[in-house]
Amino acid sequence: MTSIDQKSPAAKDIENWLAAYVAKAMKIDLSEIDTRKTFEHYGMGSLEAVSLISELEDWLGRPLDATLMWDYPAIESLAQYLTTAARVN
């Protein structure tokens, strides 16, 4: 796992949420999740991505583009984007 101590708490929370989600959805041990590796590396297809976005929308309480994971294909980059986007909004 990457060191995420220097990142903002919001980004860390989102990373943890995403890591836990991917681990549960793809039946992988949480300790094996590397936040820099792509969702596709863990076998997540379009259908899994749709479910993730849907649950992430509910958790964050705001609508998200279904294709976010194309532009931010790893847990770390997606978490950073969501934190930055929230600050801008």
Binding site: L47, V50, P63
Partner: protein, 485 residues
């Protein structure tokens, strides 16, 4: 008015000159008049169609903004959906379904007398209806507040750089830009200008040159075999890429010169390692639109994996049909959908096979594997493009069979009467230059940092591109392929 015509260059020069000498608060008027003039040059009557759907969408957006009640908002959303899809169906799909039904009824000797709708499809219809629908859906979902300024909204629906063939912009990205002040930025202007030149190079030097070879073979597939057909298939892949991405570069470059930012539509699709990645890099604005507004709501309802696969297949049939009202486009979409589902189903087994054949700890095997992946994806695209480009369903087996008949590498087997070895060499060099620039762009932002280079470098590059276009460009004004969609 084609982008590659002198009329358009004159039009653009006038618009650019007037734009920056017009006070900010009146610029939307100038751009709106210019956009409607640009569209009227294709056919005056279609301006009324554009204006009509724009008014419906504007009204629907305002009404949705006035109420929180979902049922009332849905009523206005459906108004916008029916208006836009109704126009799209009438002009693009009515005759296709009508002819197909007639053929089916005739096969059973049943009387069928619905007349043909004799009308030319308006340029850009598939693009601007989707862009407008995206706005209505975003307002319905609460992602975008309704646009109150009718003029600005009309400009969003008709912005001339992207009106004819996209990129299909999102209301959340483009609409706010029309409200901002845009001061003249000499660096952005130069960067945009370079992108426009690059777009012209792709279109006139590569795409229109390759079209000569491709059209000769595809228009008479029974007359060609072996290398002629193989080259035509390969050339079409580059032709359609350069034609469409060239148009997109011109659109993005013009918008940039005016101070607006349009979304990227291509990201080196031929460097993709999977079919899924290809569709994330090719015509990005359409695929994202379909994913956000069609795939996502349908896939959420899928409770079993097979249902998800059915949604994927269906969505890509729709993508095929979006491209054209003909069965070969349906076949194209179905094939791509099948390829994606197949790739998903076989991913675990392919991953195991990769670990055995190409152990990732060996750098050379890892690179070989990646090269093989790119070659396979390109081959899949080339096969799909045969379905896409063929003039009819019956031509498809002819082309596929003739590819492997009498393969020879002699001059006669490679060149054509109207496409000599010299033309082949020019085409080959231009494609190499394309790949080199794209490889460079991936490593450093060539187009975004052009204006920061030394002045001599800026002059050298822009003059070299201009020289290449004037010396090697095809000047017989071929329309952009995606204008027909």
């Amino acid at each position: 008015m084609l982008f590659t015509s002198l009329d358009f260059l004159a039009f653009l020069s006038i618009v650019l000159a007037l734009y920056f000498s017009t006070p900010q608060r009146f610029r939307w008027i100038l751009l709106l008049v210019a956009s409607y003039y640009f569209y009227a040059c294709w056919k005056v009557e279609y301006v009324f169609l554009l204006a009509g759907t724009t008014l419906v969408d504007y009204f629907a957006g305002l009404q949705m903004g006035k109420t929180e009640e979902k049922s009332k908002r849905k009523k206005y959303l459906l108004m916008s959906v029916f208006a836009n899809l109704g126009v799209l169906f009438a002009f693009k799909y009515f005759n296709f379904f009508n002819d197909s039904l007639r053929a089916a009824f005739n096969a059973f000797n049943i009387f069928y007398d619905v007349p043909v709708f004799h009308v030319l499809m308006p340029v850009g219809l598939s693009f601007y209806t989707f862009q407008a629908l995206g706005y209505s859906i975003d307002v319905y979902r609460g992602k975008k507040s309704p646009e109150k300024h009718l003029g600005i909204f009309a400009l969003y629906a008709s912005f001339f750089p992207q009106l004819a063939a996209g990129p299909i912009e999102r209301s959340t990205r483009l609409l706010p830009q029309f409200h901002l002040e845009h001061r003249f930025d000499w660096e952005e202007f130069k960067n945009g200008f370079l992108l426009v030149l690059w777009g012209f190079f792709k279109k006139m030097v590569i795409a229109d040159r390759l079209a000569i070879y491709v059209n000769a073979v595809y228009n008479h597939p029974a007359d060609y075999h072996g290398m002629h057909v193989i080259l035509a298939v390969i050339f079409f892949a580059f032709q359609i890429y350069c034609d469409f991405s060239g148009y997109t570069d011109i659109a993005i470059g013009i918008a940039q010169m005016l101070g607006y930012k349009l979304m990227d539509n291509f990201k080196r699709p031929f460097a993709s390692h999977t079919v899924r990645e290809f569709w994330q890099r090719w015509h990005i604005s359409l695929t994202k639109w379909i994913m956000d507004y069609l795939y996502y709501p349908l896939a959420l309802k899928a409770t079993k994996k097979w249902q998800g696969y059915l949604v994927t297949f269906f969505v890509f049939v729709i993508i095929g049909l979006w491209h054209g009202a003909a069965w070969n486009f349906v076949l194209f979409g179905a094939f791509v959908g099948f390829a994606l589902v197949f790739a998903d189903i076989t991913r675990p087994d392919r991953k195991k096979m990769t670990e055995v054949l190409f152990p990732q700890r060996f750098g050379i095997l890892r690179r070989l594997h990646k090269t093989l992946q790119v070659a396979i994806v390109f081959s899949v695209f080339m096969f799909a493009s045969v379905l896409f480009r063929s003039n009819s369903i019956s031509d498809i087996p002819v082309i596929l069979q003739n590819m492997f008949r009498q393969v020879s590498f002699s001059t006669d087997a490679i060149a054509l009467p109207n496409f000599s070895l010299y033309e082949l060499a020019i085409a080959g060099l231009a494609i190499l230059m394309l790949e080199a620039v794209q490889w460079l762009q991936q490593r450093r932002p060539v187009f975004q940092s052009f204006a920061q280079r030394p002045l001599w470098a800026q002059y050298a590059v822009s003059h070299a591109l201009l020289f290449a276009i004037l010396m090697f460009g095809e000047f017989n004004l071929k329309p952009f392929i995606y204008f027909q969609f």
